[in-house]
Homo-oligomer: 329 residues x 2
């Protein structure tokens, strides 16, 4: 990457708009939004804005750029059809919150693109171009998905973009990503919603006595319902499985409390789980990755709880990455 | 209350020690702990400390004081037996996190005491005399329990103590308190524990991708397991019912997601529940309470989501309270 690959961002909402701002200064950036108003707002803020999606995509193809789909995943079929028409072999990534379905869509609708799925795990309650910030991704995990067919050069481009934005790059298989976010992101939303409903149905005394455990436990229930639904319903299969795990644990605890009066098992396991979360980075060690089996090495970084912190090229143009990784026990 | 009633605090841990500090300056305060080390530490900090429990209780009886049981509720049977022996008609309150069982114990083991149950809903992860702070109760709800037999004069003493400490006084029947805290305090702990276990069982990738929704949703899973168990297991019946409500909501959502793919119902109800929580004080209006049916009036304040902010006496010595209360729709 002696010369930074130009970036073409499709969608200028919170995530796309933040990405444009974060990448500016590191590389040439062009944006496009289906909203004329948003295009005008971005242009007023100094962003190079394409007049049309097809125009953006054909320029991206000409300049061998990296296209980022930063639109709702419901728009992906339509967008991928345009990519396939205008820039059929372009470097392509996305920022959608579910990865296996997007991988499948990309392979089906734009099969010749060099696609690497992405998911920057950052967001705020706000939305729209104005809400964007170059700092949004700082410190966040940015998942980059890999399969056996992945193009490592494009992975390196996407990882570099994420690192420029201040994120930790977490390589993962698309299905593994979806299973994980079901458990640690989508399930927390459903538990928060259920708790908020129980508290409110209890009436005013309940809400008057609710303190920090309730406030923290219901915080994400304040997220816009349509956003929660889009995120959770889009990851249906993995989320049903995560709910079953939670319902199983709670059901056993309920039975134990009712029959023997003991909550020993859930308190011990849950406390240990939180301790594991708090110490999740304690076992990570620096490592340098290179060579033929890079995809496997990168996936091992992610599945160990580690992340990539820099990406470079060796003398022969091969990808070299520095990472933090948990060594095997 | 022309002259402040002297206070006798049994137990000098986090809550008792904080209460001693908060009441100092407002009234005479004497403390006692079963630990000689704790008694010595409190004495070094300038607190009047009794040498023995019986000595503390007999002085409380002589001075017509207010005794506060600030010990673990597991010690209450033993403590109430001593109260019944040494100060059988004393003014008595407690700070236990469950109220109907304590009410029953007090009525059975110290039947002539003038007892008003209490629960200051404040705490930290720390424990012991050194962890105490005069500011611990500021802004917290302090539940005071009332039954048809309650002595309003003693209620006024307990309420005054809570207000001195900076708390909002929430009158409630003992059983209503236990139902509410099961839903808004104990249930959140169990959901946090279940979520933490699901996340940790998913493995290192899950924990690496866990962000603020998981961090917030599992925070109270970091509480000491023995404290969670004591609190939750002590409120068994109400907590089983609260768990059934949560399991019902989650089970329906799981079924809907698996069958139709929709999470419409749980997102709408949960989002509304959180909005109700955020606006819970919006409908409260100031009111002055006095007269024959004070217990009913006070309970109506609590069940409307309101609280008492000051307590005084009228010319005839009757209790007068100012409160915020939600008017009937």
């Amino acid at each position: 990457m002696s010369e930074a690959t130009p970036l073409f961002v499709v969608g200028l909402g919170l995530i796309g708009g933040s990405l444009v701002r974060a990448a500016t200064g590191h590389r040439a950036v062009t944006g496009w939004s289906p909203s004329e108003e948003t295009r005008a707002a971005a242009a007023r803020d100094g962003v190079a804005v394409a007049d049309s999606l097809d125009g953006l995509l054909s320029t991206a193809a000409d300049r061998d750029g990296l296209v980022v789909l930063a639109a709702p995943t419901t728009a992906f079929p339509q967008l991928l059809a345009r990519v396939n028409a205008m820039a059929p072999t372009v470097r392509l990534t996305d920022v959608g919150s579910v990865k296996a379905p997007v991988q499948e869509l990309a392979e089906r609708l734009a099969p010749r693109t060099r696609f690497i799925g992405g998911h920057p795990m950052a967001g705020t309650a706000s939305s729209g171009w104005e809400a964007g910030s170059a700092e949004l991704f700082r410190g966040a995990a940015w998942v980059t998905t890999l399969t056996e067919d992945s193009d490592l050069d494009v992975w390196a481009e996407v990882a570099t973009l994420a690192i420029e934005a201040g994120s930790r790059v977490v390589p993962a298989e698309p299905e593994a990503h979806d299973r994980s976010v079901a458990r640690v992101s989508h399930l927390p939303h459903l538990l928060a919603l259920a708790l908020a409903q129980v508290g409110a149905e209890g009436g005013p005394l309940d809400l008057a006595l609710a303190a920090s455990s309730f406030a923290d436990g219901t915080r994400v229930a304040g997220t816009r319902p349509d956003l929660i639904r889009a995120m959770c319903e889009g990851n249906r299969e993995a989320l049903v499985s995560a709910m079953d795990d939670a319902l199983g644990i709670l059901g056993v605890a309920r039975g134990s409390l009712a029959s023997t009066g003991s909550l020993q098992r859930i308190t011990a396991a849950g406390h240990q789980g939180r301790a594991d979360f708090d110490s999740r980075e304690a076992g990570l060690e620096p490592a340098e990755l290179s060579g033929e089996d890079m995809v496997e090495q990168l996936l091992a970084v992610g599945s160990s709880g580690g992340h990539v912190v820099s990406v470079d090229r060796d003398a022969d143009g091969g990808v070299v990455a520095r990472a933090f990784v948990a060594l095997e026990d």
